[in-house]
Amino acid sequence: MLDIVGEVDLYTAPALRDRVASLVDGGVRKLVINLQQVGFMDSSGLGVLIGALRRLKEHDGDLALVCPEGSTLKVLTVTGLDKVFRIHTDLASATAS
């Protein structure tokens, strides 16, 4: 589980990308990223999520997002990425999947 809090943009996305990379490099194959406390996400953040999914798939892993509502879910939807990611409305369903 990776909880993200705050805003994800060109400034903050590199730190998130590094964190995801360290988890995958450390052997994590099934990752849940909790976006419930993300107040803003732009295409830089989306790029990190797409990269995380790609890296995990390369290792036969999987990625799930927790994103029940709000601007983050909207940006996932308008870009069509809601069809790419498994998006859950709560932590329980994400961790159980």
């Binding site: 943009d9 060109l10 400034y11 996305a13 732009d42 295409s43 989306l46 790029g47 990190v48 940006v75």
Partner: protein, 125 residues
């Protein structure tokens, strides 16, 4: 277009993107737009600014200019970003995302390298 004009100039570095979002959302709120459009404005301005900043050093300025007319709100974001190549690995193209939110969005490039992103939306629309 006539109306009240609001201008913010920031160093062209990523750390100031949050300031641009705060500015744009406050201007949009002042214009009376609803929360859904306000979030779209924040995202579009942030994307336009991100496409206009130097990720390494503040070698330039980004200017965000908003004009509140009686029926239309217009934003212009001027910088020197290269929208053709400035995208994070795997990320959707910034200008495409802005156009998804505001179909009239445009990008102009001048001979001196300056770029301007423009978009607008009707009040109450």
């Amino acid at each position: 277009m006539t109306g009240d004009v609001f201008v913010l100039e920031i160093p062209a570095v990523p750390v100031h993107l949050g300031t641009a979002r705060t500015f744009s959302s406050q201007v949009a709120r002042h214009a009376g737009v609803d929360d859904g459009v306000l979030e779209d404005v924040k995202l579009a301005v942030s994307e336009a600014c991100a496409g206009s900043v130097d990720p390494v050093a503040a070698v330039d300025r980004v200017v965000i200019r908003s004009t509140l007319g009686p029926e239309v709100v217009a934003f212009e974001i001027e910088g020197s970003g290269d929208f053709a190549t400035d995208r994070s690995q795997d990320a959707p193209a910034r200008l495409d995302l802005i156009r998804t939110l505001f179909p009239d969005a445009s990008l102009d490039r001048r001979d001196d390298g300056r770029t301007t992103v423009r978009f607008s939306f009707p009040l109450g629309g």
